[in-house]
Amino acid sequence: MWSYFLRRLVGLVPVLFGITLLVFLFLKLIPGDPAVAILGERGTPEQVEALREKLGLNRPLPEQYLAFVRRVLTGDLGVSAVSTIPVGEELKRRWPATFELALAATLVAVLLGIPAGILAAIRKNTLWDNLSMSLSLVGVSMPVFWLGLLLVYLFAVHLHWLPTGGRLSTEAGIGFKPLTGFYVLDALLRGDFRLLADVLAHLVLPALTLGTIPLAILARITRSAMLEVLSQDYVRTARAKGLAERQVILKHAFKNALLPVVTVVGLQFGTLLGGAILTETIFSWPGIGSYIYEGILNRDYPVVQSGVLVVALAFVLINLLVDLSYALLDPRIQYR
């Protein structure tokens, strides 16, 4: 297993190189000069030229690419063209926000999606089944932006139950010094339950918004995986033995249906890291998603290049972990 792990790890190297090349080329495909975009309608031709020089845009493409890769290899993710703050510093500060949100969204998806899928499977073709599957279809097709604003207007503006955005309320935020950057953890470490409540309140709506699509997908995958397993002989045997239905469902059927579900959870978590862009924007969530989004708007190449690279790295690593977790679930899977 260790050699498999190592081989997979080595295999990531060309993948990551490919990603750097793709990101680089995509950015170059966007028409227009970033120097002009950064300076806007007020930039004079001389200023544009000076900024091009500064950003290294005058050099040939391969040279620009090599310079980018060389910097990344030495751990230097470059400097934002707009703020001049090192991108690495900014990503380091922001990733806990994104990670915490993605984790919360995954929790929402798992805790609601899997039970919904199981129920739909065991009550196949009932009202419950139809209802939950229709809802999951709505969930998948609902535009994130729209859903987010809908939730904000309902729960924050009208009902005043939850805050409209941010990670902390204004007052809790004054003088707050993050320790780990994971605010839930920070609040627990301080034993400050008021702060914890504040942090959790701020997490609810964005996690729900971000978690809706994976929730819907998970519900559907769980349902079909369960249906398949439930029709198997060993389930029939279990029932024939006179086992309680609860035992049959959870011990026999669900454990075996878990494999595809875990794959999807892992993949969805990976996409959440990158896909948080819209959610983070609506909820003023200071994570990597909103950072990359701004980078794209501002033509801030170093931000986009390095930001996407880091997200991609997280994504492939999570996939690797998902693959490894198969062994725990299904001993028949061999690593070679």
């Binding site: 500060r93 004054i174 969530w285």
Partner: protein
């Protein structure tokens, strides 16, 4: 259980409440830097304005210069030497004194690329050369020398007369910062991990990027009785819809940059007020003479006459825009010619003029609209469509075009340029030069003559040079009124709108006077 959970969350959400001692401003973005003179974005300046004072201030709600850190100023006979008398007894927020040396320190830093206290990794400081012709050592540099005359007197020696100097040095870019704080912080100064120290009403307490910036009352502030509120929090909410929701929910007290379409929504909410920032911009349609029909001034005037600007402004801006034929916004009335009244909307007459110019059947025209929304053109495509419809009524067959913003900006300068395009300008300071020179000073780098050379307008250019160098205020007014008339008749850039940015506040916020210049002090604002 469920009820308890919601209860806990609700307590967390509402918290203790901030009471009247804290103003929460919903800001539309993250400042790039809190170091003055180094950036040009309004988002940063808005925060800086609370921390720093400038030499010259402006009467609230206007562009009229009044005493700031300088109590008085005057120019030498030849208009080349400006002397400023500083206010005495002013302290920076770190307790050090404001004096002429401190001002010189700031100016040298902005002006001199070799200044050792410049954070050169960033190498910005682009606003100084933009407004003052160049940096130290460059041929175009307006500034020749900055001298400390005595402890409270500072003198600027210029290479040429520049009557707009007080207005320009008073612009929000040039807040005076504490030299000792800059020396102490080095490259960190003005960043989230460093300090930002001025003489303004509020001092920086903390800046948590992406989240909020906390400012507290400056105990040393020189204006007695101000600021009215103990604390200001800038809460960063970039998305306009989210910002409006936060205002409605009461998370924030007042905010900026609301989409014009939300005006009705705000006016119908009993807890909110719409607040209008006086216009300080122009959105125009540029007509490029390199396209043969547009080389004829009559054709350009016919176009100006054929576009129903009043109807367009009414439709797309409502209360949030005016159209008056002037290139400068209404807040600069003193420089506008009373003779300039906009071309009347008259398609019949326009058609007739077009026929006289030799185009009885009209012609084809490519009209470029911006791919992005700007304060002066919030919905460029729809506005372009409306103009195209008006033009088709006089036989001009418009083909609407656009491209990526960066390419749009760059390509308009590549000969022969776009035939017709939309763009605009927001002023830096309250002087007509800042509006006219970037658009009409020869050669005009984005409009071309028939042979494809950048357009050169000798007469207008002479007028602009005269305006830029004449010391007498009365004389200057006359010159710019003439410029107003000339540019109006030339119709190379047809002013479509001066738009008012829409702001909003909760009803209990009082004393907010938005400045046309884009940022104002919060010192007079209080929560009732």
């Amino acid at each position: 259980m469920k009820r308890t959970l919601i209860g806990i969350l609700a307590v967390g959400a509402l918290g203790l409440g901030l009471g009247q001692k804290t103003l929460v401003f919903g800001h539309n973005g993250e400042p790039v830097s809190l170091e003055p003179g180094n950036i040009t974005d309004g988002i940063s300046i808005y925060v800086q304005r609370q921390i720093y004072d400038t030499l010259v201030d402006f009467k609230p709600g206007t562009t009229e210069p009044v005493a700031g850190l300088a109590v008085s100023w005057f120019a030498s006979q030849d208009g080349k030497v400006w002397t400023f008398r500083l206010r005495q007894g002013v302290k920076f927020q770190d307790g050090t004194d404001l004096d002429a040396e401190a001002v010189k320190f700031n100016v040298e830093r902005w002006w001199d690329p070799k200044n050792p206290t410049r954070i050169d990794a960033a190498a910005r400081y682009e606003i100084w050369p933009k407004l003052f012709g160049g940096s130290k050592g460059e041929a175009g540099s307006l500034l020749k020398e900055v001298q400390v005359v005595d402890k409270y007197t500072i003198r600027f020696v210029l290479t040429r007369p520049f009557p707009a100097f007080p207005a320009a040095i008073g612009s929000g870019y040039f807040g005076i910062a504490s030299p000792s704080a800059i020396k102490k912080d080095g490259a960190k100064y003005g960043s989230p991990t460093g300090s930002a120290v001025g003489t303004g009403p509020y001092r920086l307490v903390e800046w948590r990027p992406g989240d909020q910036i906390v400012l507290e009352k400056n105990p040393y502030y020189w204006k007695k009785g101000y600021p009215k509120t103990e604390r200001v929090v800038f809460k960063i909410i970039k998305d306009p819809a989210a910002r409006l929701a936060a205002l409605k929910a009461g998370t924030i007290d007042f905010t900026t940059d609301i989409p014009p379409a939300n005006l009705k929504d705000i006016e119908s909410d009993p807890n909110l007020n719409a607040v209008f920032r006086p216009s300080f911009n122009v959105g125009y349609l540029a007509l490029n003479p390199s396209h043969k029909p547009l080389a004829d001034v009559r054709v350009r005037q016919a176009i100006a006459m054929a576009i129903n600007k009043k109807a367009i402004v009414q439709a797309f801006w409502g209360k949030l825009g005016v159209t008056d034929g002037h290139f400068t916004p209404p807040s600069m009335k003193a420089y506008q010619s009373p003779k300039v009244t906009d071309y009347e909307y008259n398609p019949q007459k326009a058609k007739q003029i077009l026929a006289e110019a030799g185009y009885p059947n009209g012609f084809d025209l490519e009209l470029w609209y911006m791919p992005v929304s700007r304060p002066y053109f919030p919905t460029p495509k729809e506005i372009a469509e409306a103009m195209a419809a008006d033009l088709s009524a006089i036989g001009i067959r418009v083909k609407l075009q656009t491209k990526d913003w960066a390419a749009y900006l760059a390509d308009r300068r590549k000969a022969p340029g776009f035939q017709a395009y939309m763009l605009g300008w927001t002023g830096d300071y309250g002087d007509p030069q800042n509006f006219y020179d970037p658009h009409f000073a020869s050669p005009i780098t984005d409009l071309f003559d028939a042979s494809g050379k950048p357009l050169d307008l000798k007469e207008l250019n002479d007028l602009l040079v005269k305006g830029a160098t004449t010391s007498s205020a009365e004389e200057r007014k006359k010159i710019y009124q003439q410029v107003d008339e000339t540019t109006f008749e030339l119709a190379l850039r047809v002013p479509i709108v001066h738009s008012q940015p829409l702001l909003a506040k909760r009803k209990n916020i009082a004393g907010w006077v938005p400045s046309p210049l884009g940022s104002e002090s919060f010192e007079t604002i209080e929560k009732r």
